[in-house]
């Protein structure tokens, strides 16, 4: 086990009816809040009204910033920063999923900075201060509700970059599984792919040279539960326990716990996918299910033992040869992504094969920023060729 620091102070309020508690949570930080949300699904689901009622009851003034799109844009965050300053809000409340939360985090840090917030994302400035961020979660995938990361796309350059700071980690996140009832089958599937990818990237890219029984078993525990809960949620969107297990395993999958002690982990699949969604505005989860099986196939040629371990321990593959066992495990994931309705090739995602060079050009810049040195343009092209 590698040395690590684990600190995750987010207060999670979990369960049906818990949205009613957001007013008193916000009130701990002040009397005026910037409420950030998306394209209107929070209105149709009823969450919007529940949040406003609770804030009103607690005597909190609300400034609204609607209209955050998935693959959120820096321009939207800048709009929020201007609003947060003009209205002198005390906190930022995200009502939504990862895109909304990451926009709220960027606003929270940007409102306290005297420079372009993009500087946080290219690591030329660090976050020194931020407004408190709170969350009412309506889509489980990013785990941004319980981690210090935010991902934003810069409009002019189509760069999808990320920042990490404990100062933008949510103080409180409210997780009501009923908020997922209105999630479409597609977005339920895409979210599941995102969560699985978070775990598998940690599992495969870490720098632990030895065994990692504790972390591996956590990954198996969260991933098995998530996959079962996905199938049950698709069969019955209002299955409370399925949505609850989906929601909580999604958060635990990427809150730092399964990778604590694993050394450094990288996110090459997310990196390549960021280029897909930046260039084609494809759903993040759909992009991941295209890239992940191809990346695993490419990566298993370099480290078949680790892929074989997953296949044996998680899927019960009995094959003795590592390369064959690895391939069998990858095939299982690919089949499962297909079964839940997520695309598993560039072709299925409607992305022209001829664009591989262009995608690699976009991705290689992020590879530099994320310090994924091995991912040259040639390597990325090679990975993408496994995704056709």
């Amino acid at each position: 086990m590698q040395n690590f620091v684990f600190e995750n102070p987010t207060k999670i309020i979990f369960g049906q009816g818990s949205i009613a508690k957001i007013g008193s949570e916000v009130k701990r930080f002040g009397n005026r809040v910037l409420m950030v949300y998306g394209m209107g699904s929070v209105r149709t689901s009823g969450v919007y009204e529940q949040v406003l009622n609770s804030l009103k009851e607690a005597g909190v003034d609300v400034v609204e910033l609607p209209g955050v799109k998935s693959n959120p844009m820096l321009s939207k965050a800048k709009e929020g920063i201007a609003l947060a300053r003009a209205k002198q809000v005390d906190a930022v409340l995200a009502v939504g999923g990862g895109s909304v939360i990451d926009t709220a985090k960027t606003i929270a840090a940007g409102a306290k900075a005297d420079h372009d917030p993009w500087e946080f994302f290219v690591y030329s400035k660090t976050v020194k201060s931020a407004l408190p961020v709170l969350v009412v979660l309506t889509l489980s995938a990013s785990a941004s509700e319980m981690n210090p990361a935010a991902v934003i796309t810069r409009d002019e350059t189509c760069q999808k970059f990320s920042v990490r700071s404990p100062l933008i980690q949510p103080k409180t996140s409210i997780l009501d599984p009923e908020a997922l009832y209105t999630l479409t089958p597609s977005y339920t599937a895409y979210s599941a792919v995102d969560i699985v990818t978070h775990m598998l990237e940690g599992y495969f890219t870490n720098t632990e040279p030895g065994e990692s029984p504790l972390q591996d078993r956590m990954v198996y525990a969260f991933m098995r539960t998530l996959m079962e809960a996905t199938e049950k949620s698709l069969a019955d969107p209002r299955d409370y326990d399925a949505r609850a297990n989906f929601m909580w395993s999604g958060t635990l999958a990427f809150n730092g716990l399964p990778v604590a002690g694993m050394g450094v982990v990288g996110f090459p699949v997310h990196m390549i996918e960021h280029s897909l969604s930046a260039l084609y505005d494809i759903a993040h989860g759909a992009g991941l299910s295209i890239v992940l099986p191809g990346w695993m196939t490419w990566s298993a040629t370099k480290n078949p033992a680790r892929f074989a371990r997953l296949a044996r321990e998680f899927f019960g593959v009995a094959e003795a040869d590592d390369a064959k066992a690895a391939a069998a495990g990858i095939a299982q994931f690919k089949a499962w992504f297909s079964a839940i309705g997520s695309p598993v090739s560039l072709k299925e995602g409607g992305i022209p094969e001829g664009d591989i060079g262009k995608i690699a050009d976009n991705a290689v810049e992020l590879a530099r920023t994320w310090r994924l040195k091995d991912y040259t343009k040639e390597v990325i092209v090679e990975v993408l060729q496994h995704c056709r």
Copy 2:
């Protein structure tokens, strides 16, 4: 899944060499610390010197309170409270295991209170303020390093009671697996029993009426890792990875995570054991391995399905009949406790069978305080008869 609030802000600094960081961690809270420790094992292990060096380097004044025994006494905590006040310390640093940490927590709360600290333990007063608590862990078992609980025995009445408050939860805990190298085989085994018991009591006593796949799998993940790591640590006390897996799974086992969503859990085995160690000064873990198998046998007659589930999912017991499967699972635990060298009966613990009534008299009072209503004297006697 039941509604829950999960909030665990303790900063964990994990790994070899990490004790050197305690000075700068304490310094965040002030310049003078009360350092609480036990009967001298920290001196022979070298941890004492590492801690003092780090504190000195950070410019922290140290006031020492040595001599905390296992099954720590309120009188010792009161000595610490007087010292903390007289020397006006800014923080309390526990260098030890659960007994030392719980004494430090009691001092931290007591130093800020204007009444007898025992009132916290009989729930007649709540903790309203406390000095910051920090930990350098030298014995993994209680998980007190990452939770808000403390257990203390009141000298005059031999009552071993507990208190919970977020205010006494450690701010920072340093977990260096090398600190466990000098742990004797007996204490390695007793610690393992304590950790297993924390998980099994949560697993069996919760009020979740349905399935709990996520929490169950976490228990299996932590317990399997802990059991493997115990065997490896007994075979080679200086096996770093074994000690590391032991230490981190021990903390995760009882930091609130595996029981989040499980409703209310009770600790009847700990309750009955507290009477054993209060009356006979037996090691806590040794007492637990005496009580746990008997309690499981007694409890399985009431809820065989849950015990059968554990036997099947954790030990792979193939038996179709619930009662028989349950018995097989319990037998596996009992055999494992024996194999690692912990007593599994009152007789093996040197406790006279004729004392069962007396033990039950002591335990029933704690049952009232812990609101374990079903545990009348008669019930406790019945459980203890399964422990002969």
